[in-house]
Symmetry: C2
């Protein structure tokens, strides 16, 4: 029996292709197959764009469909289909490198692929290569620390109500709101009431050529932001 290949989950960082780690690049380039989430409307997705400078022409490219829906039955079917396509190669002993933006353990599609693979094929081998997640990249391009000393950090993948932010800021010294574009105006109102707008930053498309940074949000109640935007807010010491 052939030893199955390894499914690598390789973190690409958030945009700048140079933010891949040496380990990620080495394992990526050794794999015979490189998988990534397929883009929408036949345009290459973000992961495919970031990884493209590093691919060798003989590597097989494998776009996998992950629909942008919440309905679980549709998602599970998509994950199973993706696993079937990946397993075709793994079962022959070929390694597959799945690349994802940000860090592969941090709100990543890779989790669903890997977990479904291990359910359907318990003999499969999965290995994850960590990378640069968006809060770290945003802090770096802002030139401000994300956290120092004894600061407690809260990361919210998306905000469903502003009340939640209130609860988090009771406790956290620094909060990161991912995908802030959907709720920006309500968040702005809340931060304004708390006089936290001066200590807030928005970073859009960190490290990409069209990166935009907004410092001090007092004059920006209605920013129109793209999907890859996050907000960092630093709370002043409570004592």
């Amino acid at each position: 029996m052939i030893q199955p290949g390894v499914l690598y989950g390789i973190s690409l960082g958030v945009g700048d292709p140079e933010l891949i780690t040496l380990k990620g690049l080495r394992l990526l380039q050794q794999a015979s197959v490189v998988a990534f989430p397929a883009g929408m409307r036949d345009k290459p997705g973000m992961a495919e764009q970031i990884v493209s400078p590093w691919l060798r022409t003989e590597q097989q490219k494998l776009p996998l469909r992950f629909p942008y829906v919440r309905e679980e039955s549709i998602l599970i079917r998509a994950w199973k289909e993706a696993v079937a396509r990946v397993w075709q190669y793994l079962k022959k002993g070929q390694d597959v490198a799945f690349v994802s933006i940000g860090d592969t353990s941090f709100y990543s599609t890779f989790t669903y692929l890997a977990q479904t693979l291990l359910q359907l094929h318990p003999q499969a081998v999965v290995q994850t290569v960590p990378g640069v997640c968006s809060p770290m990249a945003a802090a770096a391009v802002l030139g401000v620390p994300l956290t120092v000393g004894s600061q407690r950090l809260a990361i919210l993948p998306a905000l469903y109500c502003v009340k939640e932010l209130e609860a988090v800021l009771e406790w956290a010294d620094v909060a990161v709101l991912m995908k802030v574009s959907f709720v920006y105006q309500q968040v702005w109102q809340f931060l304004s009431q708390r006089q936290l707008l001066e200590a807030s930053w928005v970073v859009e498309r960190a490290t990409l050529p069209n990166q935009t940074i907004y410092r001090d949000l007092r004059a920006r109640p209605d920013l129109k932001l793209s999907y890859f935007s996050l907000l960092i807010v630093q709370c002043p010491p409570c004592q």
Copy 2:
């Protein structure tokens, strides 16, 4: 007048030298001076050990002393002394790469160096290269996602009382306790009462050759852990 050199803050990742990014390595190798926190008792510190495979012999090594104390006056004096040593090179137009473990924006000594430099020499130029922080590295070596879907993440740099953990778990779905070695036994008691030990992991020295992983902490009430240990706890859905 000579244009001052750039102070780069370069993230090394948590242990495995291959976890540096391509960008970090490029800027590191271009700098004429490589600075890092001096080790204790003349032994090389962690950052120096991680970076050593990447240094060219002609690069100037600059160990900087950052005392492990809480007294602010002593710390401020040390930061100013470190800045004076770095500025010697920067003012002549030479770049200095300061390397730090983990990510340079995440509880890093680099913050104090960069902020003190900019206070004393406002004309200085600082650039940060993000990297792999310890929560991402720990999740990767565990082979579990750190966060998925709508999970809210809390990161505590250190825990001063277990009450604080209680407040966090009211709100967070996943919590990372850094430097858990100091409070492990109390944390264990708390997690035991909440029946969260099965959903908790400890990672010691992630990605280093002597890395140790503890899964399911039920039988481990009194682990003796080293400084570079963290605990991840996943709370079951509340609804």
